[in-house]
Assembly symmetry: C2
Homo-oligomer: 320 residues x 2
């Protein structure tokens, strides 16, 4: 795979079809009223492993030659990609090592181990993660599968938008969260290829607004110490994902942690689905009224639903 195009995304879809869920698109009269628009929620929180990450990880694993696959895969991630890669490796019955910071929660470590992944702990900083993963790759020959800055991963992740537009072809806009940019890049390429007039927007946490800053400055601009309750969106936008975002995305709006929590709570109460903070950022961007969506048909990707119930963001204030 040498380029990131609709063709590579369709090839990914053919590769992973039947092994990932075709997730439902839900609607709610009450949420439409609140937004003053018709909302179509693509529920990737109901995806295998609880997030769209399963699509990208599986496409990457199934794209390996047998010789490559025999040596296994490795990644560094403390979030949904870690569990997704462990799950994908199990589906092909190959080895998988996940480098996680030693501060990772027991909940997240358990998600990887549930699928048979080997966890190797590192120091909780980017340098240690990269170095540990590189060392394991060098020692074992395992292929690095980056959480987002990888064309096979991006193509797999983009299949969520392909399904959404297949089911609801006449969308005026589509909104997704942005962290490292894999989902956003893929969504943008799919949406603009299939429907050139569509608007593509993203929501981003205020405390990790590197993608917004990068769009504004015209080059990849990191945030010094990203922090947000949306812990899946703290990554720095990649050198493969950013050019696609720059080319295709119409706007990125930032949302506060309070807006994210309120959005997750409303999705649980009204749409009846569990969405993790990172997954609710797209709806938070819409609910916050920061996008001009009046009376339009808007696709919203709810990207993940892995919530540690012991720390559920929607618990009433008095009970946290």
């Amino acid at each position: 795979m040498s380029a990131f195009t609709l063709e590579s995304i369709r090839a990914a879809q053919a590769r992973i079809q039947g092994r990932v869920h075709r997730t439902p698109v839900l609607t709610s009269g009450r949420l439409d009223e609140l937004a003053g628009a018709s909302l179509f929620f693509k529920c990737e929180n109901l995806q295998k492993t609880g997030a769209f990450k399963a699509r990208g990880a599986l496409n990457a694993v199934l794209s390996l030659t047998d010789a490559e696959a025999a040596k296994g895969v490795v990644t560094h991630s403390s979030g949904n990609h870690a569990a997704a890669l462990a799950w994908a490796a199990k589906a092909r019955n190959i080895g998988v090592t996940v480098v996680m910071p030693r501060t990772a929660s027991a909940f997240k470590v358990a998600s990887v181990e549930r699928y048979g992944g080997r966890v190797v702990f590192c120091e909780p900083n980017h340098k240690s993660r990269e170095e540990t993963a590189a060392r394991i790759g060098a020692e074992t020959g395992a292929r690095m599968v980056h959480p987002y800055n990888d064309l096979a991963v991006m193509a797999g992740q983009a299949t969520a938008a392909l399904e959404l537009l297949d089911e609801v072809p006449d969308l005026d806009a589509v909104v997704c969260p942005v962290g490292g940019g894999g989902l956003l890049a893929g969504t943008a390429v799919v949406a603009k290829s299939l429907r050139p007039g569509i608007k593509v927007y993203a929501g981003e946490p205020e405390g990790a607004a590197d993608a917004s800053q990068s769009l504004a400055s015209g080059h990849r601009t990191p945030v010094a110490s990203p922090a947000s309750i949306a812990d899946g969106l703290l990554a720095f936008v990649g050198d493969l994902t950013f050019p696609e975002i720059q080319r295709h995305v119409d706007g990125i709006v930032t949302v506060s942690d309070a807006e994210i929590v309120a959005a997750a709570r409303l999705l649980l109460e009204v749409l009846k689905v569990a969405v993790e903070p990172s997954g609710a950022v797209s709806y938070a961007a819409v609910a916050g009224g920061k996008l001009d969506l009046a009376a339009r048909r808007v696709g919203i990707i709810l990207s993940g639903g892995n919530v540690d119930l012991e720390r559920a963001p929607w618990a009433p204030p008095g009970r946290v």
Copy 2:
């Protein structure tokens, strides 16, 4: 409509189609492993108004003649049928009065008022509910739409099973909750008509086990003071629903409140959907291992998802 048959149920489906959601059927590898069976969750918690009750209420309202409809509808209910009838009446633009006990929670009253329903309070006992609703019916000419003991309501409610078996035709068993018996009667008639060899089971709260007792005794046998966290299942099985249950249902198992809460919590954590205690009783019956389902394909109706988040049953023990 004079009989409760597959034909009357198909007619109901034609009547309400496009106005209710065709709810998704979700699966989970992890829940399959836990159960040792293949589970297909029919998500009526994602239905309009948050419960399968929308189907029955809408069928009843759309079955009225224009002259009947002009006088409006009335019901007594403190639960999902109340909101469903308000919603259905609004869909036909007719008047609706809901008799609710003065002890009903603000959460439930709000659900009715959201759809424009008029709420009339009564004393919190069965006699007062019946009398108040009858008086309003006599005064206004409004048609009583009973929550379950009504052939049009039963036929509408049965359409959930029709969709489930259309989507997953080769089920070996189907499980639903039982309260007044509308959903169970409808599910049983659909399942046995379409697939005679299928097993039909129900879960019932231990503290409101009138349907189990009635099956055992061979006649409708009430429980003196029904009590359960599954507050939608406290009703006494009806004289229209019980004969269908007696004829078609293979077994009813009882579950404790602790089992119900554990089931709701697991559904939220793994399936990522909000299910209210009453709605989780079907899965609690399966998770409890009380049914012989080994290696079989089992449909499970999750009947409702209206949870007051201030009193969420899945909150960790330390935070309740």
